[in-house]
């Protein structure tokens, strides 16, 4: 246990501070969070922030990168699997995968390991973009959108980069976003303090159905039989 104590001690402190910072910045605004509370929660010293991250702003950006990498790790496998399957080009399968992806996206937002800290960070960056937004966009939003757009394009026989494709892909993620971004409102509608496990299950199933049905927009007057 004595080998390379100082070699890893710095990295450990860095990680503890990042974890504390993610929790703090996820639940409170940037200016509401004092670096004193962060280092206190991390069991470190105030000067550690200036030393390891160059200051509070540097810590914030490092936290964004830390968050992006952790979230990306939990999604990349699904996105890659879907991208591989999309190459086939079967619309029916793309519709199924779209429902599954939206459902899984909702689950990550509602019960994922980072579902407590990440949304607060992300939604703040949407309203008040800083340099952290670029990190989140490249590592999270863009890959997610590209995958969604690919599925929508396949399912609706549209060009991948068509404006309609992008709008639909974004809109289809809306319901899942709403259950997390407006969680407090939804919970008050349900007269409930938190989402229960069965709530999440019902939401997931409902979103899968709504997604599949919404994909048929502008086609409701078409013949009922399911053809490619």
């Amino acid at each position: 246990m004595m080998v390379s104590q100082s070699l890893e001690q710095g990295a450990d402190t860095r990680r503890r501070i990042l974890q504390a910072a993610l929790s703090a910045f996820g639940h409170n605004d940037y200016d509401s969070v004092g670096i004193r509370r962060i280092v206190e929660a991390a069991g470190a010293n105030i000067a550690a922030i200036s030393y390891h991250f160059g200051g509070k702003k540097g810590l914030y950006l490092a936290t964004a990168a830390y968050l992006a990498e952790n979230l990306q790790a939990g999604m990349q496998q699904h996105l890659e699997r879907i991208a591989a399957a999309t190459a086939g080009g079967d619309p029916a399968q793309c519709r199924r995968m779209l429902s599954e992806l939206v459902s899984r996206f909702a689950e990550n937002l509602l019960t994922g390991a980072l579902s407590d800290d990440a949304p607060g960070f992300i939604f703040r960056e949407q309203n008040h973009p800083t340099d952290a937004f670029d990190i989140l966009y490249e590592k999270l939003f863009r890959p997610m959108h590209e995958t969604m757009a690919g599925l929508v394009a396949c399912a609706r026989s549209l060009p991948c980069d068509a404006e309609e494709t992008r709008l639909v892909a974004h809109a289809l993620l809306g319901p899942a976003i709403a259950f997390r971004a407006a969680r407090t409102t939804m919970l008050r509608h349900l007269s409930r303090p938190v989402y229960t496990a069965s709530d999440v299950a019902r939401i997931k199933d409902l979103l899968a159905l709504l997604t599949a049905s919404a994909l048929d927009y502008e086609r409701r007057d078409a013949p009922p039989g399911e053809q490619p």
Copy 2:
């Protein structure tokens, strides 16, 4: 102009401060906004906040009430008209009104008079509810949700207070919310700095179609003819 100068002067200062506070709290976090900047923008003195609102927290709550009243004023007419028509109980008409309401909701979020300031305020209260959330919920979220739930219940022949009804009503607002809450992301997807007028028009039309189509969830295998 000389009558009751001091009687209205106080109210004027109050209103100017509220307007400046709404703009400030809508674009920046609570702790990022200094009361000195607010009174500077409002052309008032620092002590005016303590005098008129009892402090910064009192100003924030007053701003929430001010925002809620202004937003409510722009929606109540539509909600009342819809509520009156819903009493008829025609599912086909309810579906039409649902699409129209979602479309109008999106327009308010994207181009309304308060679309600059309000969303930032609202989304922050969703992530970090304070006493201001209760004000917003009672005056905005609950009436909107009740109307949506009523339309969904009528369109799908469900009880008004059924859990499914509430979930669907919330989910159907999701796409509109996504185009504003994740506006920065969507704009980057479109390689555009701001939504153009035609963007908003396309989004409105698309959301109306998606809403109508999504309402047919779990029924796609049913006979195509439209029956009550």
